[in-house]
Every structure is written in C-alpha cells, then in structure tokens.
C-alpha cells in the first residue's frame, strides 16, 4: 500500500524545547497524539511508521518512567530501540559528552533520545550528530515531552487553553517541567501562576509572563488546573526549605487548599510523587480530580507523535546527511 507522504508538523529536525515551537506545531503534535491514544487502547498496538529506523535512548540521569515511555513509543511505531546504560558505558570511564556523541553517531541511529543532568547538554549534543534529537529533560532547562503530555491531558479533559488558569506549584527554580509548561501554556493562551516560597522561585520569574504567588491559598483561588512539582529531597533539609512538615503545611496540596480552586479543577503531577510532602494521598488518589494516571498514558502517545513527526523530517535515504 502506498500513500502520500504525511504532512510535516515540526520545522526543526530536533525537539530540544518548547520555547522555539509555534502554536500550530504544538497543536499539530497534540492532534497526532490523539490518534496514538486510540492505537494504544487497541488490541494491536503496533504501527509501521518507524520500521527500519533505529532509536537510541541515552539517559545520563536515571529515569525509569520516561525511558520506558520513550522505549514503548519507539517499539509501538516499529523502530529498533536501544537503551544505552550510561552507568556502565565509556562515559563512566571518563569519555566526554562529545566523544560519546561521535561514537553513537557512527552507529547511524535515526532518533536519539537524551536525558542529561546539565542544562544545555542535549542541545550541545544535537549539534554533533546527524540524526533527530529529542530532549528528554536537560538540567533545569526543558522537558518538552512532559509539557506536551500535560497539554494533551488537559485537552482530552475538554479544557480549552485560551483563558485557562493554571497554577504551577513547588520547586519552580529547579524544574525543567515548570519551564516547558510555562512556555507551552503561555503560547497556547493560558494564564500561568507560579506558587512557591521565595527560595524556590527563580530570579525574575515574573518576566516569564507569569503571576507570582508566595501564599498558596491566594494563588489557588479560581484556578482550573493545579500542577504540582516534585520537591527534590536534597532541597528539603534546611537549605531552601526548612523541613518537609513545614513544606507540606504551607505548600502541600491537600483537600482544604484544593477547595480554593475552581470547582472541577484538575490536579496534575509529573511524578514520582512525594506523598505527604507536596501532595496529600487523599487528593493524589482521588480519580475525580487527579489525572496523574492519565498523564502517564498520554505520555506514551505524545512521544509516539513526537517520534513520528521528527521522522517525517528525516531524509528519504535515511539520515540528514
């Protein structure tokens, strides 16, 4: 069976962040992902979109859930997927990032999924390889597929972005999830509020076009979506926040604080959760308000859409050069 080549969705041959994406690119990815949600719910989950393509997951920072999601996405689209265990690789033996890139490039992959602890590392790597690169999270910079899956989850719950009020709560300063979501939601016409103690707010956060709140109760008033962020354990021990109990008391999402949001407001969390630190189990496990499980399901679909869209930009003969 032959059909016309599918229309391109993305301008670039990499997905390094949300910041450079247009509203139509975002919408294009979300529309494509809708199809993959349906496919993933079918008995036969296999497509042939990426048949013959090679995808390498290169995770310099451990993340079981994101890596599995990308792996599943690639396999369902028919790609050959290789997980590079960086811990056991030559990186551990002192190889530089760029040497690793050159080595991998020589293996001629088509898609490279990279997670790295340093902001900007994925972009640096993308300049040295000939394949499509997807940023699976770099330092405190961006995590574009997380923001896209959050957007897909919001849209599939029937919410329109225009005029939507979204509160992002917690460790904004160190969060790549927050940054990607701020870019995406603002680009799509939503109003973003940031809620955190001043020690967890980045400098000049208001310049990102967000409203800033240090009082969670004030910040939650009338919001449509509450996005909780994970508080890293090392930040809780007196350096930026005095203790987990104080954090939960003032910034943990519980039933009482959630009542201040708009009736029917949705609760999101990128996972993994710290129950009793940033979120009360009572809220996290309430399927009426919590869409945390849907986020995971939509994550696979959005990553399939991203891989599909990027592969459309690959040269017919294989790689870009």
């Amino acid at each position: 069976m032959t059909s016309a080549a599918p229309a391109p969705i993305l301008q670039s041959s990499h997905l390094l962040g949300i910041e450079g994406l247009s509203a139509s690119e975002i919408t294009g990815l979300l529309d494509l992902a809708e199809d993959y949600v349906k496919l993933n719910r079918a008995a036969d989950k296999k497509a042939a979109t990426l048949r013959g393509r090679t995808q390498i997951n290169l995770f310099f920072e451990n993340s079981t859930r994101t890596q599995s999601s990308f792996e599943l996405a690639g396999k369902r689209l028919g790609a050959d997927v290789l997980n590079m265990a960086v811990k056991n690789s030559s990186v551990a033996k002192g190889e530089t990032l760029l040497d690793t890139a050159a080595t991998l490039n020589a293996m001629r992959p088509d898609l490279l999924i990279v997670r790295h602890q340093d902001s900007g590392a994925v972009e640096l790597l993308s300049r040295k390889v000939d394949c499509c690169v997807v940023n699976a999270g770099d330092g405190s910079h961006e995590h574009p597929t997380q923001a896209l899956l959050d957007a897909l989850t919001i849209r599939r719950r029937g919410r329109r972005f225009e005029g939507l009020i979204v509160a992002i709560c917690g460790d904004i300063a160190h969060s790549r999830v927050a940054r990607s979501n701020i870019h995406l939601l603002s680009r799509m016409g939503a109003r973003v509020r940031l809620i955190a103690p001043r020690t967890l707010l980045p400098a000049d956060a208001d310049r990102l076009g967000c409203e800033i709140f240090t009082d969670m109760r004030e910040g939650l008033k009338g919001v449509d979506i509450v996005m909780m962020l994970r508080l890293q354990l090392e930040r809780m021990t007196g350096a930026l926040v005095p203790s987990t109990r104080e954090y939960f008391h003032f910034y943990g999402l519980d039933r009482e604080k959630l009542k201040l949001a708009k009736p029917g407001a949705l609760v999101m969390h990128p996972g993994p959760m710290n129950r009793g630190v940033e979120i009360d189990s009572d809220v996290a496990d309430d399927l009426e308000v919590s869409v945390i499980q849907e986020q995971v399901e939509n994550g696979v679909a959005i990553r399939m859409a991203v891989l599909d869209a990027l592969s459309r930009n690959l040269a017919k003969g294989g790689r870009n050069t």
Partner: protein, 435 residues
C-alpha cells in the same frame, strides 16, 4: 462586672499621636477605654479605683526589643519571672526575648513553652523571637512559617551574625515569603574573634585585643545588600558606630524595609568607661569611641535610629568575675533602660516624646504588637514616672536575678513609679522595701 481604673491629673504622653497634655485616662477590663485632656478634669471619676498622678508622666509601657533571659537552661542567671520583675520595676511592659537559651528556641514547641511559662510566671508580656537558624549555628534555616504560627514575633540568631552569606540570603528570602521580621546582630565573627573591646588607643594601653568598628559596618553593609536582593523586612538589633549609621541612613533613603536599634549602653558610655578592666562594661558590640557615642545620640535625635533597647543580658559571678578577656559579654539593663534613655532628653538632644517613641510606639510598630500607644482599645500597658526624679543606681536594689549592671553608682534622672500591664499594677515603688 466591668473592672475600671481611673487615672487623673496626669501628664499624658502618647508618642503614637504626639499627644502631650494634662488629662485623664480610663481603663476598662484591661484596655484603655478613654483618654484625653478633658477626662476627669472637673468632676471626680466615680470609680472605685482612682490614681491621682499629681502631674507625673503617664505613657505607654516600654517595649524592650532585646532581652536575654536564662530560661530555659540557665535559670541561675535569670528566669522569665525574675526578668519580668526587673522589667516591671523599669516601666517595661513587654520584653522581647532572644532565642539564645539552652535549648535554643528553634522549634515551635519551644516557642509554645516560652509563651506558657510567661503566662504562668511573668508579670509583664513576653514576646519571643525564635532562632533564624538551627541551634544558632548559621547553617540551616528554622521552620520560620511554623514558628511564626506558634507565636514567634521575629527571627534572629541573637548575639550571633550568620556568617555564611548564602545561608543568610536563603533565610532572608524564605522569611520574605511570610513577610516576617528578621533581626540581625552585626558583628563579623572572624574579625571580632578573640576581641573584648573596641580597637584603638585605649585597648592598646590596656593590652586587650580589640575589634574594629568595621567588623560591624562590614556586616551591616552586607546585610543591606541581601535585604535589597530578597525584600526581607530587616531590623539591625543594635548598632554602635557612625559608619554603620551612615550606611543605614543611605539604605533607608533608597527605600529598603529596614530599621535599627541602639542599646542604652552605647548611648551613655564610651570605650573609656571600661576603666580598669570593668567586666560589667564588656558588652557586644563593644563600647566605642566618644565620636561614635555622639553619633548614636544624633541618630536618636534625628530619627534615623528607630529604637532603644536594654540588651539586658544577665550574667552571674561564674561568667563575670574573671579577667577581662575571659569574662562573658553582657550587662543587665531592663531597670535602667528608661533612665538611660532619658539622659538624651536631659542633655537637650531630643524631646521626651521622641525618646519615648523609640521605646514604645516604634518597637510595637516594627513587631506588629498592639501596645505602645495611649489609644482607645489599646491594652492598658502603662508606666507612670517622674522624668526629673534623681537617683543613684544601686546593684543591690535591682530586681533582676543577676546584678551585672554597667551603671553601678551612676546618677540618673527619671524612673518608673508605677507600672501597669493590662490595667493591673505590676510595680509600685512606694511599696518597695527600703534598703
């Protein structure tokens, strides 16, 4: 039944409103019910309890923003109860306690302990400050939000500066989250390490290691930059030299949310008062030069220094009857706060109402307390005093458990006759036993 107490024939001074007039004041159920020039002028009040003030000053009770006690942990030096006796005798109706106790007040449960002990044993109001960092170690911020909910009025490491700038920056930023007040002691711990008095000719002659006043000003200037960065409300607990004051004046002109205090010691004494190794005048920061002392007086007169504190710090023989360099810092001061502050008035540098403002209304405003004013509805925390009454400080007549006053034998004018907290008389000098 309504409990009433009437004052007539008083010289009413209210620094909150600028009121300075002959008149009367009525207390009902512990609060000021009425006050004014015409009150009880013509007709006698038909109340059971009437105090004829005979023209003496009736003013809001003093609020002392810097008081160390020994409770918990060093009760042999001072308890909340004994500190409150000294406060009442000094016309002080609210003491703001420092967290430098054993254990350090760095947990909500300990703030609660201080409040309960104060309610059970103290004659005056006790407003506790809590530690800014755990165990005053300057490493990890305390649970500022929870401590505030427990009743801490401000956050401080007491007589210590937070040396680590990054820790202080984060603590200030976190404090700004809740809009709470941070009070800082300005003394660079490395520059002042091992020093016992201010650096200069006199310390050289005594052979005592000195600390330069720059050790204070460096920290003042550093902290001002961090306030600018974080937006925290900040109070310099006490400054002692001209250069620090100049830095603060400039910062206030830039609109920073800062205030500062000076101790009664630094208004009335200079480095020469250390005399022949008088350890009761070893205080932190140390007594400075005469030019610095004069600058502190000007600071009060011009309103650049906001409050006067006693820096009451009870020490016993075990920590003070030692060679100068080995002795502890600190002197008691609750009973001499008002007399020492009044020297600024008697010397013609500032008006009585301006000086009273620095020990009543302004500390109340900085701390967000109800008192410090003669207004309807305010708590009836009052001091009745004769601003002219001469006396000589006799350590044996002090009410504090510790007697380490820096003012032994000093001649002052003006001291409390009667003190009232919530309309109850907690001190009456006419009932004091004569020595």
């Amino acid at each position: 039944m309504t409990k009433r107490l009437a004052f007539r024939n008083a010289r009413l001074i209210d620094p909150a409103t600028g009121l300075d007039t002959r008149g009367g004041l009525l207390v009902e159920n512990g609060k000021i019910a009425d006050v004014g020039a015409k009150l009880f002028n013509t007709a006698d009040p038909h109340d059971p309890e009437v105090i004829d003030c005979k023209g003496l000053v009736l003013a809001p009770g003093l609020i002392d923003m810097r008081v160390f006690t020994g409770e918990p942990g060093s009760e042999h030096r001072e308890t909340l109860a004994s500190a409150s006796e000294a406060a009442a005798a000094g016309g002080v109706t609210t003491i703001v306690t420092m967290p430098n106790t054993d254990p350090v007040i760095d947990e909500a449960a300990l703030v609660d302990f201080i409040k309960r002990r104060a309610a059970a044993t103290a004659k005056v109001r006790v407003a506790p400050m809590a530690a800014l960092t755990h165990a005053l170690e300057g490493q990890r911020m305390t649970e500022i939000g929870l401590l505030r909910e427990a009743g801490a009025v401000a956050f401080t490491d007491g007589d210590r500066s937070v040396a680590n700038t990054r820790v202080l920056r984060r603590a200030l930023a976190y404090a700004a989250t809740y809009g709470v007040l941070v009070a800082g002691h300005a003394e660079d711990p490395d520059l002042s390490n091992g020093a016992s008095m201010t650096e200069g000719e006199f310390a050289t002659r005594l052979g005592i290691p000195g600390t330069p006043s720059a050790a204070e000003t460096i920290v003042v200037e550093r902290d001002l930059r961090l306030v600018e960065l974080t937006g925290a409300r900040y109070h310099f607990s006490q400054i002692s030299c001209r250069a620090s004051l100049e830095a603060i004046i400039a910062a206030k002109a830039r609109g920073l949310p800062i205030t500062c205090g000076v101790s009664a010691h630094h208004l009335t004494m200079n480095e020469l008062d250390v005399g022949s190794y008088f350890t009761f005048r070893k205080v932190s920061p140390p007594l400075r030069t005469e030019a610095d002392r004069a600058a502190m007086v000007d600071g009060i007169a011009e309103g650049h220094i906001d409050v006067i504190v006693s820096s009451h710090d009870p020490q016993a023989a075990d920590t003070k009857r030692l060679p100068f360099a080995a002795a502890a810092f600190g002197a008691v001061g609750l009973e001499t706060l008002l007399p020492a502050a009044l020297t600024v008035v008697h010397n013609g540098h500032a008006s009585l109402i301006e000086v009273l403002k620095a020990v009543t209304f302004t500390p109340a405003r900085i701390l967000g307390l109800d008192g410090g004013k003669l207004m309807k509805g305010a708590p009836a925390d009052l001091v009745l005093f004769d601003p002219e009454e001469p006396f000589i400080v006799d350590p044996d007549k002090l009410h504090s458990r510790a007697r380490n006053t820096a003012f032994e034998g000093r001649k002052f004018q003006g001291r409390a006759r009667m003190t009232f907290v919530g309309g109850e008389c907690v001190f009456d000098r006419s009932r004091e036993r004569k020595h």
